[in-house]
Symmetry: none
Subunit: 237 residues, 4 copies
């Protein structure tokens, strides 16, 4: 499994060794599941191979997960609470909803470009279990509502807007992650522009927002307990 870009990678590896043994074993199993999901696809991953990659036995897997589906769910939760949350946090300080939307779209496109394996994993897991998609959806929905309140967007219905945003961007991300876009950044910008236009923005402004460079990742506030961080993230939306 290729490494994630640095600012995301650091989010994934916080304090595994500090966990109590039970949690540590569980975390190792999730890591192994991620590897196997990536290598074989979520549908083709077998529990025996996950156990083997984790250096454990199938029995151990069943001490932590009652069923195969629970593993997929756990991976979904894990991705949501590390990778996706980290991305969401990365533009917590941006207050313009249109800008936030543009960043959100482009950040996942960027991930598809630099870490296609992780992106395909997210897409697969989203498809297999609802929780991960819902998680991302929630973040997106609050930006959409904010944009409507700020009169940056004008849409006939929230649901239609969500279908536009999610459907179109997922298509773009998939294309990029599969290496089907010769110039991934150009494709991402173009798709983001079309989405913003669809949301009711002026075409020129849509293009400008979509073209703006992504903000840097902020440093992880190192020692703070995880509970505090997720609480503040929730408040920020």
């Amino acid at each position: 499994m290729p490494a994630l870009p640095a600012p995301l990678a650091e989010a994934l590896l916080t304090g595994h060794e500090r966990l109590p043994k039970r949690e540590r074993t569980r975390a190792q199993l999730i890591q192994a599941a991620i590897q196997v999901f990536s290598a074989r696809g979520v549908a083709q991953a077998s529990i025996q191979e996950i156990a083997q990659v984790a250096g454990m036995t199938t029995g151990t897997v069943y001490n932590h997960f009652a069923t195969r589906e629970e593993i997929v769910d756990a991976v979904a939760v894990w991705l949501a609470t590390t990778l996706c949350r980290r991305i969401d946090q990365s533009y917590a300080q941006v207050t313009d909803a249109a800008e936030r939307m543009a960043i959100g779209l482009r950040r996942y496109q960027w991930l598809a470009e630099v870490s296609p394996h992780w992106t395909l994993l997210i897409l697969q897991v989203s498809h297999a279990t609802p929780s991960l998609a819902e998680n991302i959806r929630d973040f997106c929905l609050s930006d959409l509502r904010m944009g409507v309140r700020q009169e940056r967007f004008a849409v006939p219905s929230e649901e239609a807007a969500m279908d536009l945003i999610f459907g179109a961007n997922q298509a773009a991300i998939t294309r990029i992650a599969l290496g089907l876009a010769p110039d991934p950044q150009a494709h991402g910008i173009a798709t983001a522009t079309l989405i913003l236009r669809g949301l009711g923005m002026d075409p020129e402004e849509a293009r400008t927002l979509a073209t703006r460079p992504l903000p840097e990742f902020t440093a992880l506030s190192a020692p703070a307990p995880a509970a505090r961080r997720s609480a503040s993230a929730r408040r920020a939306r």
Copy 2:
């Protein structure tokens, strides 16, 4: 498997009993595969169950399809050459690309509303095998290009526009087919509006086009009386 609306159903069921034996069996197997795909999902469908539903043995299946994937392909081709072609033909006489695009989007949304099972089947098969999606994609792409030539659309790139159209509409269709849209028609209209806006149309015109009623299905082949058919088409909406 619930019946399709009349104008589509008649396209699917033409003259099975007139086929030579081999083709007839093959057609029966494809029908059985469609049932099982719908009931269990394409990924979970087993050849044994397809055979059983078709009233045959697994050996017979393998006389017609060398592998499981060939069945999926055959179903894809069958859907493309009956269902999808029929839909495409239904607005062959429309010359305004924007109108064509609106009809295409809304026609599949309509299908999702009146035949959610068939729609979910198409979505699944599209996901499993490339041929069906490509088929629809080609049709859509030529409308897009026509719209650009006619200066109805203005898009930064064809690929981005296709991701917008396909991604967003697929999301809308899925929502409708799953029964998640309280007012399916309103949702379809809203999504189509957003897509057309994204393609560069004036918001008001986008809304107008998306709201316009779908044209009736044209008569298929000669002998049948036209009146009956258009009546049933009207009823289906």
Copy 3:
């Protein structure tokens, strides 16, 4: 299937086109079976593939052979009555039993060198059905008896001698046909020498006989009916 050396090839192809239709179809099936046996091995050959190679259907195969095993038997008979008989005839005029034995051993070794595929086929068919091996065995046995009568050989028992001759030469032939003998002719000569020594011959004379070049194949007496020929061949033994 690589061609046989000329003098044998001509024996295989006599008058197929002259046969009545039923016999011609049967002959074609046997040819197809030989091809498939060679390509896949006798055990792995399927009737469907034989039929396909013959350009026929499985039903036709069963019009000529009641069971799979009958095909193997038919191939065995066919090999015996063409290939092997032709080899046996090739030294019909030799009267010294020791010389005949040497020629027999070396001729099959030669076949293994120049036509390993045919040889491996013979070995496989011999193993699968008794008739072919028995056929060759008969020819060999009469030479052995002649040698004993001529006091060229001295053996404690006919059976032991046959096991010596057949077992040892089969091992040598297999080695040659598999390409495991760097110098096939030297290996053939050496093995033949040891066998002749085992049969009681003077070591030096054994070596001389085993080293002597093989006689040329005699021309096929073209127009003579097959019945006459096999009769005379039988008398010659």
Copy 4:
């Protein structure tokens, strides 16, 4: 499966119940495979039947052997390390290569006489997998080389000699095991005589060596009383 003669049987059955569970199951599977190989032939043996005979499910078989061929290999190794090794050890103290060769030939002939089933099994397994044959071959080859060094044998090539020894004796053993030799011992002696003559020995000495009675099996490991064992060995002949 008929029992082996006592001195061999005791080698096969040492301490199964003392093995750790995994090894015990594996041993049971190998025993079951041997039974099925004997009953149906190696080529026709199915994993399902092996599992059933072992009182297990097919899944269990695959916990121990990744593929059908691995079972054959395991049986080959098992036969080599018990049956064949025991035979080889039985004349470890004989130093004359010619005598060793005679004993080796005759010991396997004896096995064919008293345990035709086991012998046919060995022949089949040897044919299916190289390891068992190579094992025996190595032992035989060192005797051959020793005999050449001791100037008991004179052969044009090692390979030819090996083909003579193995080919001829395999033929004799097969005949005996199939019950085709009215007097198995006489046939064994005769064949061994011919082989030794082929290897360059004086006919009379060859006959003498081949006729000499086989040495008794030596005691296996310490504690068992020697008297019982030699008695049973004598009885077995």
